[in-house]
Symmetry: D2
Subunit: 350 residues, 4 copies
């Protein structure tokens, strides 16, 4: 079946089904209902009966405990997938075959092989595929991106990304996360490619267990420093920590032949106090749900508008594939304590 | 008739009617529908038929071209009044007599006599009255307020408020605005009392026509410097301009015996560019609709919650009365080029 | 006798005598010896024998206990006067008559009549007169001044100066200081004229005793808010405190038809700490000796260079006269609680 | 001969001889004469007759064209060595044998073997040895260092250093510089050890020629990203560029278990302009001579005071040895594209 052709008539709303009403699923549902004018969220599916009330309160017409009704609903133009990662491939396959455009949360899948399958399926069925790299839609990163693409900084020479969480997740979460690079740094790998505008060709990853021994016992790291080399010659570095006691820390800097563009972290207010001990200001916005509130809304709005206007999406399946390849190469580098060629790695580590 | 007693049962929603679907009325309507969980906006009234579609799109059940149906609707707990200023007193009177709690946009009324009547009517009918001093609900000002009330800055000695608009309104608007002090500075007069926590006892206002001669020809000023003296001895100053070419500028600083608390202006992102000419960053959030988006939402949320929990409102009728008195005294000071005692003024200038 | 004609030959050093080796006299002496290449400090005079060692350590050839030897020394091109204010007029008279160029610390004199005499004497003898308004030579203020004179901010509309001391001087000092406006605000009055580039025509001064009751008992104030109106229509405000617990606070902002230029306070380092309570940074540079170290050096260097190159000085006797007139008008405004016309005032209050 | 015993009597001045009146030699000479009270610069030596005038103007008694007279002068307590690097070892040897304390500019020597010889010689003769790692004496870095040593940031986890020059040196200079790591990054290697308080055990260096092809043709790099691992587990990164078009860029950040301490770059003034295009501020202090003016003064003052009070120096021969070892390991890493164990490297690369 071919993808639904969406009328270009002004204000033709896009009808969507959403699968998985966990924390991020609820965020997308509320944004679609309240903040995305072009969207009409007509159905949600979640195995937990307890989420039915949430759907009802949003005024969503159809609640299902399995996604099949959404695949079969010919009215529905697109699906938003927020279910657990192992379900992504089969859900995308079913939805794409019914001509639905796909928005899928990250990680798209854990192996490059399955991600390639997803890309192939969506291409074969002519449907759009957007992945949840929400930071690309954040005002700060966008402004830096615009500085680079407009040539303001010239040729990129040095990229620096700082990305630190306020507190580690549970050890259970860590055990099933695919490791810090796949779970946390993958956003930074994607951002690196997005800002530099060139592919990562080599990765050297150093990791350490400095914040919480239990993370090390679970086989993961909590602190990392990752050096990148890009195809255009630019050098990059990402530093990560699972535990910044002062809160979520999200910064980026790109330096080039004509100048530099950088962003600082975000805070809830601009207040500064002065007393006899010095100057004092507040903590950052707590974590990603507070920091990227607008970006979550914007990514789903632009997904809907990409369907409405038949435009390319800003975060594609290929983007997910490339970021995953870098993460896998970083994992390998960590183990081998050696720089790793990215394109060679994903062939051997599916 | 007495005010409706609102059940304290958790999640009992407050039913509201909204009168006046102009720009700010639409903002309140969207916030009530999309962002205030405790609110149920059941009816709107506006004489313009063209606003019916807006109401329908929000899923509001009842649209009326006159407010009477809202007054008579016994289901409705509260009204949100966004109609032209001259209608405020009669609408509040009708609504209060039907036991409805009142949220009314600023200016509440143009004379202290009518504002006093509004206060009296709402008290007699036992309904809450909140006025639209939205800046009290802004995260920046709140943080400063908390620093003062918690004693962090000690006794207040000096208050400084900068409040500048990006561009003047139309000359038609200016002619019917009541003058810059009543239209624009009134927010700053309210903020001055809110932050210092003491009444203004003397005003000295200097005004000038520097930005646009047409404003002067219309009998108003576009630039002002207003000195305040507070009952607790604190000295204050407000500077205003109708035209800051770099955009909306909203800052405040309070200095006291133990320290200082200040806020800077707000911007859409944190990006800074560096090139061979220096460092460059972006313009402020454009104007009040962008700058105070969250504050508009928060003021209406807290109004609804004040009804739900039977708590006092943060911006009362008395606050509107006091700010108006200061504005009238400032007008008089401008004409006389002399400091004016505030409490004496409003007696003679109703 | 006519002023000494200084050879334009490159590296012809200017020979100076310095009168008064108190705190500021020592600063000027060290700057002349160590940091001003074009200067040759050949003599100092101070009645205290204890200062002789200081002079010797600097390698100054001649130490006198009275200034006459300096007046009579035909080698000397210029004198730097750091003696008590009441001695300024007679010293300047004697020095000018011997053709010496004059650098004199502020206040030049306490009455406009005597300041006018000083101006007349120096003009009659054809010698330069520079007064110690050191802030005009500070990098921050200079940068703002350049923004204004280059037209970057357009026509000036609003000027704001914040000037707060870390701690009040002794009560003895206050009693003989001429009052806060003459002692402390006079720097701000001068800066206001310097930045706006127009004369102050009206002053309204509010004062209060909020920091230290003893200051009030000594007949002075410790907190002030002074509104200014300039001949070009610009409005201004200066806020002062004798006691900012967080330290010396020196800021300025000028707003005009094309934009704004502002400076923040100065700190000893750029370090910021982040912990679980927020962000923390250090106190400002302690007081004027630390904050204006460079400006003190620069003012004396430019005085010497003005002589060497026969160029006008940046802070003239007329500047001292005007600032004093404003201070006297502010004193009068404070007493009368009314705005005061500046040009009328100094006629009646010599 | 044993080191001169310096009297602990207050104000006993230290007598110094300075060897090499190039750019940095002149800076040290002026600081010793004008700004270091405890110093008495009694002799300088430089083969260029043209520098004699400079010495005379400073009032230095003895000018020599060879350093022997300084070694032989029994009055002299210490020597300041600013001659070319290849002369350091023989000069230090001669001076140390005469019991002179040693301040020597960086690089101390180009091989670890010769540096070790210098350390041995100075120890055997009981003289102090301080190397010109001037940044350790800068107010910004000192403040960060104090935060770390006082435990404010807890255990160090991540170190980030940005160090970029405004423009590359001449190709001739580059050819004899020992390479970017030895010439430029060596300051950062020293700072890394100073701030983290632990030894670097592994280095991974990526380099590129992005700013100027001629540098590549001369066999060097102009852009680098160097990952460090410290003995205490901390991870670090240094990024370098020979050409930042916006100017000299010197920043550092240390992140740990209890918080973060960071410094921003330094600027000549705090002025910010606002116009219809945004906010604009100035360029950084131009280069190291402007940026580290105070640090150059402070390092020589503390050297003199260390002699006077018989205290340890803040930047020792061992510090130079360690930084050189890291630079050599970085060179090796660059060639091998592999992480290099630091302690093993300097054994094989003398």
């Amino acid at each position: 079946m071919t993808a639904k052709v969406v009328s270009t008539e002004i204000m033709k709303k896009i009808k969507l089904g959403l699968i998985g009403l966990g924390r991020i699923g609820k965020v997308h549902a509320e944004n679609l209902v309240y903040r995305v004018q072009a969207a009409d969220l007509v159905a949600v599916a979640d195995p937990m009966e307890a989420t039915r009330d949430f759907a009802n309160n949003l005024g969503i017409q159809n609640f299902h405990t399995t996604p099949e009704n959404i695949f079969d609903n010919q009215e529905i133009d697109a699906v938003v997938i927020c279910s657990p990662t192992p379900t992504h491939l089969p859900i995308i396959e079913s939805a794409a075959k019914q001509g639905k455009h796909i928005f899928c949360e990250k990680p798209l899948e854990m192996t490059t092989k399955k991600i390639q399958q997803i890309i192939d399926i969506t291409k074969q069925n002519g449907v759009k595929l957007q992945v949840g790299f929400n930071r690309r839609f954040d005002a700060n990163y966008r402004r830096v991106h615009a500085q680079v693409t407009s040539g303001k900084i010239g040729e990129p020479h040095i990229l620096k990304i700082t990305s630190r969480d306020p507190a580690p997740p549970s050890i259970d979460y860590i055990k099933s996360s695919g490791g810090m690079f796949m779970d946390m740094t993958i956003h930074d790998f994607d951002m690196a490619r997005f800002i530099v505008g060139s592919e990562v060709v080599e990765v050297f990853a150093k990791g350490a267990v400095l914040a919480d021994k239990a993370i090390g016992e679970a086989g993961d790291i909590d602190t990392a420093m990752i050096t990148l080399k890009f195809a255009n010659g630019c050098l990059g570095v990402i530093d990560n920590s699972r535990k910044a006691v002062y809160g979520y820390d999200q910064r980026l800097e790109i330096f080039g032949s004509k100048g530099m563009s950088k962003i600082t972290n975000n805070y809830s207010d601009t207040q500064i106090s002065f007393d006899e001990n010095g100057r004092h200001a507040g903590l950052p916005l707590h974590f990603f749900m507070q920091r990227y509130t607008e970006a979550y809304c914007e990514e789903i709005r632009e997904f809907v508008e990409a369907i409405q206007g038949d435009k390319p999406v800003l975060a594609s399946g290929e983007d997910a594939l490339k970021a995953t390849q870098i993460a896998l190469a970083a994992n390998k580098s960590l183990v081998m304590n050696a720089p790793i060629n990215v394109t060679q790695t994903f062939l051997s580590v599916p």
